[in-house]
Assembly symmetry: C2
Homo-oligomer: 327 residues x 2
């Protein structure tokens, strides 16, 4: 079933995906070779292109027929890539999508500047929409994402991070971009405010579910599936929902033990297995799974007002996929 | 005389400058405290606000009466600050405007993210102009600047950097932003294409002169005036016009000696004085001064088509100031 959903999405979007790849390549071509090389390392390393797909099908769901949805959808992949490059430098991450992170190959300064370049490229394409609302959405995304990352950085290792603080961080670091992609599709189609809002909400819930699933996978997945060693979050001192909920419910003894593991920057496999058992025991895994599932249901409800058709079907599938995926 | 020009500019723009400060503060207020703190460290450390002034008076020269020129001029100060934050991280600079660079006070990642935030803020204000051309200009600036910085980084220590390569680098790292500020003022005023082009050209020449003067000051100024130790460029292996021209004309023996100084990351005061003498001897200082002066004259010629008045007078003075300043 899980494999099916992924394959069905890929099947339904085969043609779109090919055109997205072409468009992503085309915009990079006229630039400085080094910039292209660094940008390509990340951009063409097996990204799922979910953000472009969400924009394209949000536009189509609102009956957009202008013919530029593929072109403009690249805005969100470039923006996503820009933030990943900066985040990897900020987090000093070694790997990304099973490959060495860009700043391991090139120097951190070059990677930061390539991130700036991709942000500018994204903005340049956005300006071509001639829709100031789309520009405002993108400005808001960039602002929220940088604040979210700084906030997360500031709160690294903070053992009493609350659920509310966590929700604020993941909204800013993940949901706003997915939300913005969906909203921009609706704006491009000049949809009614009701439809714009509905797709914005859909994107918000899908994005929240997506990040919660990501935070779960860091505990429940394997190195082979993830392309990086699970447990990165506690190694970096990032408290996510499975852990926050479990700490709240743990016995004082277990809580103290878990805190000692978080304080330790290197977590060897054996204690990590035991740590995961605590997350199951104190309900953090199940709580997060249900929370993400709730968001998926809300996302799908947001699509009620739209006519049936392939784009609606696809958006429903992507919402579902956000929590059923293994990577 | 030199002091006069600076004081006359300040006198003529006193009211504008106060309003610019207020606007810069206002936009920062609603944000995360840490972001505000890092951004303020650089933003309110004695910047000359040349870019906002250039936009404001370009708009007024084109008879803009919409009343938003101060508000929108902050776009270019935030954008400038964003690039300074990233550049200081990239160059590992210790000081900026006589103060410790931001990444010495906070961590480099936080400074990078604050740069992203300021870029987003700039973009957000740009979107409020509702003029897609202004957004395109800003996207182009950001793209050029990041490519220019990467290019400069890639060419650090390259002893055979040509004059053409140098001109390309300074156009991208400095001139495009000043050019964009002037051009955007004209676009805001909905000026004719001829006037937009004239102000764009004015900005280009002023920007080129400004950077050449900056590159001269790194050799000819004092620590007290600059707020940092002169000679930063050769310490960082950055070849600028005074040096490129002198290397081209130096005797083989002097050239070899100069190259050995460039290769050395620490240049003590005595050899630095001798080094400067070579730049005078081989004409690099004079050549650069004339080159900058040419740009100033061309900048002022671009204003010919405009009516006389305080904004034209001010723009002429700023072009002149770009090479007469001591800081």
């Amino acid at each position: 079933m899980k494999k099916d959903l992924k394959h069905r999405i890929i099947e339904m979007t085969k043609e779109d995906l090919e055109k997205i790849e072409m468009a992503l390549l085309n915009h990079l071509n006229p630039n400085l070779e080094l910039v292209r090389e660094i940008a390509s390392h990340l951009l063409f390393s097996g990204g799922k292109r979910l953000r472009p797909l969400l924009m394209i099908h949000s536009a189509r769901l609102c009956n957009y027929t202008g013919g530029f949805e593929i072109e403009f959808s690249t805005i969100f992949e470039y923006l996503h890539a820009a933030t990943l490059l900066h985040d990897d430098v900020v987090d000093k991450a070694d790997t990304r999508r099973g490959k060495k992170a860009a700043h391991i190959h090139w120097s951190a300064p070059k990677v930061v500047l390539t991130g700036d370049f991709l942000l500018a490229l994204s903005l340049d394409i956005a300006a071509r929409t001639r829709q100031p609302e789309i520009i405002s959405v993108i400005a808001g995304i960039t602002r929220d994402m940088s604040q979210g990352e700084i906030n997360q950085l500031e709160k690294k290792g903070k053992l009493d991070l609350t659920e509310g603080e966590y929700l604020d961080i993941i909204e800013k670091k993940t949901a706003v971009l997915i939300q913005g992609a969906c909203q921009s599709g609706a704006i491009l189609a000049e949809a009614s405010m009701e439809k714009q809002d509905a797709l914005k909400q859909y994107g918000f819930h899908t994005g929240m579910a997506f990040q919660m699933a990501d935070d779960l996978l860091d505990y429940t997945s394997t190195k082979e599936a993830l392309g990086k060693t699970p447990g990165a979050d506690i190694r970096e001192g990032k408290l996510t929902l499975p852990l926050i909920h479990s700490l709240d419910n743990a016995s004082p003894k277990d809580r103290t033990w878990m805190e000692s593991i978080i304080a330790d920057n290197e977590v060897s496999p054996e204690p990590f297995e035991l740590f995961k058992e605590k997350l199951v025991k104190y309900g953090g895994i199940e709580y997060t799974r249900k929370y993400a599932q709730d968001h998926v249901e809300k996302a799908i409800q947001c699509l009620d007002r739209f006519e049936e058709g392939p784009s609606k079907e696809l958006l429903c599938m992507i919402a579902g996929y956000s929590i059923e995926r293994k990577v």
